[in-house]
Symmetry: C2
Subunit: 399 residues, 2 copies
């Protein structure tokens, strides 16, 4: 039996699907809208912890604090607020992040330093600490094994809550929730994801599995090429099932859940009209494939063409040319939704492109496949088109 | 007397300001619009030649041919067509580029291989060679020392012709024309620039001057981050003034003309509502300053904020954070049109930002200055804002 067939998708549910995890989401008043904005995800017992964090050098205070806390390899959970990123906030911001983590640990009766902290929202404002303190107390009193509330409390510009979970035939489970790098207001658009499992996994195996899947799931999503100051993925393993997970099965379970969450992020890109998969194969090696796919997915010209239902292979070829990777135009083959636009350097007939343009109008999903015919490197990046709506929403976000 | 004060700006004129250069621009019928689309720039006598070419690996056929021809260090001029880029056209495209150069040399009675070739326009179509041949003959019969016609014949989506020239007190002159990476349809938006001088300069000095100024002029312009398959800058020096130029004076003259042309390209970005200068100083070294300035200038979030008249320092700081350069948030200072948005990590008062937002509505030029206070590295990049119009124009260009 292959690893994948031992894993079944759990239809509804996220971080509370694994045993021994509870969560809460409450209105603390950080968001002016009055929507839920403070969340807790907590394991009943001590858990292994792993994390990956933004590479943006302007990393926010909670990122720095959580990195420090995660280094021990053990934690009980995480406190999260939305509405304020606590980024670019200097020493006071750092002190606030430390206090937020301490308050949460104390409210939960957990050891100091055992609760990590994440923030998402506007850059450059200090946290309203009174509201945060009261919110933590309220959330701690409201823990349950339902994850509806926690999903909503971590949202900023997301229009839909996002979760996914799987169950292994040996009896352990793995679940996750996330919020996306929505297109409306990416300066509020931290990508946060939280993964829980009740499998028995030590923190090194957990970190290694997380590091392996992040590149091909969350890091393969690009909306506008900007990395947030707050991006964080955390994984907790509390061993409550009593079943040890093999590293292979753990990686596959984590990949399934993370891949689903990443696709939900792209599908929820507001201002976007198309869900776009960019696959590059036949590159000299995987890094080249990834660079080429990213260059296509981040090209404003390719993205505006997709918005206009224009199967413009010239822009795609030029984006590959800009990626700095090995390729030979004479071998290049580009297809879009299964229709060849370019076959080993020869363009499709104009009628083919016209017909495709007509059918793209009704097509919310686009898959671009580029074959370089040079080697075995493959990669996939998920993105969206670029619409006038995106520009308007980003231009007028604060007004 | 400093080098700069020995150089006077020539009010009107471009490539024909230096002695012994003539040009022509005619309607060959390559453009469906019936606008001029075939141009010649020719020196009466043999000239030193230098060039810089696109780094896009999908370089067009004329780029490959001109690179080969320029390697000799000598040439008589260049033939240019607009309306068709002759890019991604395989072996036939290469043969067409060679033939176009040969035809032009023959029509001008010049030695084979002494006329270079450039193309700009749609990617992926073959040149209509009948029209090209007839156009070359017509242009060769129409050479004059006026550069109105040549400026127009190299345009694609540019709305204004672009030229600049200077005169040295010793009696030599240097002039240039260019077409821009317009925002309407950057897959037609090759940046082509041609510089002529009648100073006595050997091809090595000419190449070294050109390489020195390209990075801080044409390569410091970014509209959408995509490099064209056809970008080319060529310089010709025919020595007709009989005056030798010092390398310092040559670099300064070339910098003045190229800088003016680069600014004209940015000012002509259609769909753009603002001309944006991004200056970074105090970086550890120049490469860091350039990387930070480019990251800001290419950030969709910064550019949409500028369109919305939003002095959003958080997006600027996050873009610096994404550039992978040394910086400390506590030292970071960001100003916009002279108003400090962030002073050594401390944000301006909300009233200041509100007032600035109000005044930006009426301001077509924006200068962002970021000081990292770490070293002496400085750089400047020119760009535009990102408007809904840009997206619409690029999405519906072919429809």
């Amino acid at each position: 039996m292959s690893s994948q067939s031992k894993l079944a998708i759990v239809r509804t549910g996220g971080v509370c699907v694994p045993q021994g995890f509870r969560s809460a989401g409450v209105v603390a008043g950080i968001k002016a809208s009055g929507n839920p904005d403070l969340a807790l995800i907590v394991s009943d017992a001590d858990a292994s912890v792993a994390g990956t964090f933004t590479t943006n050098r302007a990393a926010a205070a909670p990122v720095i604090v959580s990195k420090e806390l995660a280094a021990s390899g053990n934690a009980r959970g995480v406190v999260v607020n939305s509405g304020c990123a606590n980024a670019c906030t200097g020493k006071q911001g750092y002190a606030d992040a430390v206090e937020m983590a301490d308050q949460a640990a104390s409210a939960l009766g957990a050891a100091p330093g055992s609760i990590l902290v994440c923030s998402t929202g506007l850059i450059g404002s200090l946290l309203p600490m009174d509201k945060v303190r009261a919110g933590i107390a309220a959330a701690a009193a409201d823990l349950s094994d339902d994850d509806e509330a926690v999903m909503k409390a971590i949202m900023t510009t997301d229009t839909k809550p996002k979760r996914s979970a799987v169950e292994h035939s040996d009896g352990w489970r793995l679940g996750g929730i996330c919020k996306g790098a929505g297109m409306i207001a990416p300066n509020m658009a931290t990508m946060l994801a939280f993964i829980t499992t009740d499998a028995v996994v030590d923190s090194r195996a957990l970190q290694s599995a997380l590091s392996e899947i992040v590149e091909v799931t969350f890091n393969s999503v690009t909306i506008d090429g900007d990395k947030s100051t707050n991006d964080t993925v955390l994984a907790f393993a509390n061993g409550a099932s009593g079943v040890e997970a093999s590293i292979d099965d753990l990686v596959i379970a984590m990949h399934m859940v993370s891949r689903s969450l990443a696709e939900q992020i792209v599908a929820d890109g507001e201002g976007a009209t198309k869900f776009v998969r960019v696959r590059v194969r036949g590159a000299v090696h995987e890094e080249d494939a990834r660079a080429a796919a990213r260059s296509i997915a981040e090209s404003s010209l390719v993205k505006t063409a997709l918005y206009g239902n224009d199967p413009n292979w010239g822009r795609i070829a030029a984006a590959i040319g800009n990626a700095g990777v090995e390729f030979e135009f004479e071998k290049l083959t580009i297809s879009l939704n299964g229709v060849d636009l370019l076959s080993e350097g020869t363009p499709a007939a104009p009628e083919t492109l016209r017909r495709l343009r007509g059918s793209l109008v009704h097509e919310p999903e686009v898959t671009i496949v580029c074959d370089l015919f040079l080697g075995t490197g493959i990669a996939e990046i998920l993105t969206t088109d670029l619409s006038p709506e995106y520009v308007k929403l980003n231009a007028h976000y604060e007004t």
